[in-house]
Every structure is written in C-alpha cells, then in structure tokens.
C-alpha cells in the first residue's frame, strides 16, 4: 500500500467523525475506497480496544451494572472479532495495519492509563462516559466510512450487523451514564 493512500485512509477515519456536522463536497469525490484488508484491521483493532477497556473495568469496578455492561462488551466484541477473523481467513486477506488503527490504539492506550488511576464511582463514571464517546466515534466511522467502502459482501454485512450492535451498546452506555450522574 502506498503512502498517499495511507494518508487518505487517515483522513477518512477523521472525516467520518466530522461528517456528522459538515463535509466539503470535494473531499467526498476525492475519497478512494479504503481496502477490505484495512477495514478488517480497523474493526478488529476497535473491538480489541473495547475488550481491553472492559477487562480493566471488570478488575476495577464494584458496580454491578457497570460490571454487567463490561461483560456484555467483552462477549459481543469478541464475537464480532471471531467472525472477522474467520472471514479474513476465508477471503484470504491479511489485515493491514494502517494509520487509522494505529491512532485508535494510541488513543486507547492513553485512555487506559487515565482510567487506571481512578477509583470507585469516579472510575465508573469515567469508564462509562468514555464508552459512550468511543461507541459514538466507532459508529460514525462505520456508517460514514467503513461500511460504504467495504467491497466484500460478507464483510459489509458483518459491519452492518456490528453497527446495529454497537448502537445498542451506545444506548446501553448512555443509559448507564445517566444512572451514574
């Protein structure tokens, strides 16, 4: 994969969040498709990030509702990733690391560190607030960039089901956040 395409992939990742507000038509027409191998990698990375955060929550939180939410995150995101891996094998594509997944990982590592030092109710609130924000970002990327770009029908279908799932997670997190405030 060449450098310019990488750069555009990053732009796409960021644009997807901004797309909710406004986007220059020029940026849309210029946007080439991010490839399936990169999409698979981004989705896998995004899932792993949420699983890692949930595992941290299961170590730190004593709030039953927060723990139930975290268990659901581990279970559902692991299921998506198992499916993604099966699909990647079947399609014989090698997931490609790319700037979008790299920046996702970087951001997540920083967030984990921030959360690590919090305790009790402050931790619960911060974890859940971050889950709301994180699912919003991932859902915007899925609907704005990844789903439209996916070429393989099975990958597209997995992403679409994933979007429905993560929208449920976002709602669940938002509900939990209201409870904790």
């Amino acid at each position: 994969m060449n450098k310019p395409l990488f750069a555009i992939a990053v732009a796409l990742g960021i644009a997807s969040v901004a797309a909710v507000h406004a986007q220059a038509p020029a940026a849309v027409s210029r946007a080439p498709a991010i490839n399936d191998a990169q999409i698979a990698n981004i989705v896998y990375t995004a899932d792993q990030i949420d699983i890692t955060a949930a595992k941290q929550a299961l170590k730190k939180s004593r709030n039953e509702d927060v723990r139930a939410f975290a268990k659901e995150m581990v279970r559902d995101h692991a299921a998506v990733n198992a499916q993604a891996l099966t699909l990647v094998k079947k399609l014989d594509v090698t997931p490609e690391n790319n700037p979008t997944s790299e920046s996702l990982s970087k951001g997540a590592a920083a967030e984990l560190k921030k959360l690590a030092v919090l305790k009790g109710a402050a931790y619960d609130k911060a974890y859940v607030d971050n889950e709301v924000a994180y699912h919003k970002t991932v859902n915007a990327a899925l609907s704005g960039t990844l789903i439209p770009a996916a070429q393989n029908a099975q990958l597209k279908s997995l992403l679409e089901t994933g979007l429905k799932l993560f929208q449920e997670h976002q709602m669940h997190a938002e509900h939990l956040a209201r409870q904790l405030h």
């Binding site: 299921a79 279908s157 799932l165």
Partner: protein, 115 residues
C-alpha cells in the same frame, strides 16, 4: 408460520429428536390436542416476523442465528428466555399480548400475540 409446519404434542417434550415414524405414532396416540410449534428467528440483531394465529398452549421456538447472546424477555415478566449464540429454545405459550425485548440489546423489541 403455518400451523401445519410441525404437529406434535409429546414430540416437543421428547426433545424433537424422535425418528419420523415415532413422531407419527406419538401424534396419533396423543390424547391432548396437538400443539403447534411457531418459530421466531433472531438474525442480525433483530427478531424475525412474529407468528400469527398462535393459541394458548402452542410452542414458541426461539432460534438465535446471531453470533451474539440475546434474550426474549417479557416486559410483564411472564417469560425470560436466554438465547446463547446459535441456541434454539422452546417455551409454551399462555393467552395474552406480551411486549418483549432483549435484556442485552434493549433496542431489540417485539410483541407476541397469543389467543
């Protein structure tokens, strides 16, 4: 779903794995009226079409085609069926209209009407 789809009373209790000949026999010898099995499929984060013409005592077979765990949980508490990925779970109906949802993904909803 058609009422003729599966017609059994005791077969359902036996776990549905009897050979066809045994099933026929069981149906013939059943003294209670045959209860129909209605299938509700869950796929891609939603409940499939609701069966019509469901009568009290009929069986609902929940089939989870998703890779995610779901549930069919009645708002009034009359049933709460846990559905692991790929699971098939049966329950016997009672008369009434019941709104239900998934405990894990509450945006998933449905209404079951039993006469």
């Amino acid at each position: 779903m058609f009422r003729t789809m599966i017609l059994i009373a005791s077969l359902a209790l036996a776990g549905g794995s009897l050979p066809a000949s045994a099933a026929t026999k069981a149906a013939q010898h059943a003294t209670a009226p045959a209860h129909v099995v209605h299938v509700i499929v869950i796929d891609k984060m939603q409940y499939g079409p609701m069966p019509t013409d469901v009568h009290a005592g009929d069986i609902i077979e929940w089939v989870n085609h998703d890779i995610f765990e779901h549930s069919a949980t009645a708002r009034d508490g009359r049933f709460d069926v846990d559905l692991k990925p790929g699971a098939t779970v049966r329950m016997t109906t009672v008369a009434g209209t019941t709104a239900f949802f998934c405990k894990f993904h509450p945006g998933m909803t449905g209404t079951l009407v039993v006469k």
